[in-house]
């Protein structure tokens, strides 16, 4: 049985999918490490955010919602920290950013 909440949740999940796909497109198309990092961290986090939102709307109880939010926050912290670390060591290795 699909309720309104389920449908809205499904819509959120569908909206999240393009972000994952464009994240990958960006990873493949962008010219250097730094711009690829942009694609990777931003697009994927928004995608994951929409998917957790959608699944939260469909969740059976608040426990699952709390867990989903915890996972999302964990991934946010992890990806922004590792993105900073990769960019930082790229700079320290004197890898120059691509310039138009």
């Amino acid at each position: 049985m699909m309720t309104l909440l389920d449908n809205v949740g499904m819509l959120c999940i569908f909206m999240g999918l393009p972000f994952f796909l464009t994240g990958t497109v960006g990873l493949l198309r962008f010219p250097d490490i730094y711009t690829r990092l942009h694609a990777l961290t931003k697009a994927d986090n928004v995608g994951l955010g929409l998917i957790t939102l959608g699944l939260s709307l469909q969740a059976d109880n608040l426990f699952i919602v709390a867990k989903l939010i915890l996972i999302w926050i964990l991934v946010l912290i992890a990806s922004s920290a590792s993105c900073h670390l990769v960019a930082r060591s790229a700079i320290q290795k004197n890898i120059h950013p691509w310039v138009k």
Partner: protein, 90 residues
């Protein structure tokens, strides 16, 4: 079982598969590592969708461990692997 959720998971799996091209191409070790990071985020999303689609709540816990390991992997990579390499294959 919900086919909608599992097919969404499949689409994200396709995004990972496409990301593999970056692993093959490189050119730097960091580019390959970024594809692995993609694996981390997409993997979490897939697990979350499967947890709902297959009605297995345990997958949520696995997703959390996945998220933690993705972070650990890239920190270890930056601290250890990438700094020890020199010149040619950077």
């Amino acid at each position: 079982m919900s086919y909608l959720h599992t097919s969404c998971a499949f689409i994200i799996l396709c995004a990972i598969a496409a990301g593999m091209i970056r692993i093959l191409q490189g050119p730097t070790a960091a580019d390959r590592m970024m594809a692995a990071q993609l694996f981390g985020t997409c993997g979490v999303a897939i697990l979350l969708l499967l947890a709902k689609g297959l009605d297995t709540i345990v997958l949520l816990d696995i997703a959390m461990v996945f998220a933690l390991f993705a972070a650990l992997a890239s920190i270890t990579f930056v601290r250890r692997a990438w700094h020890e390499q020199t010149g040619a294959s950077r």
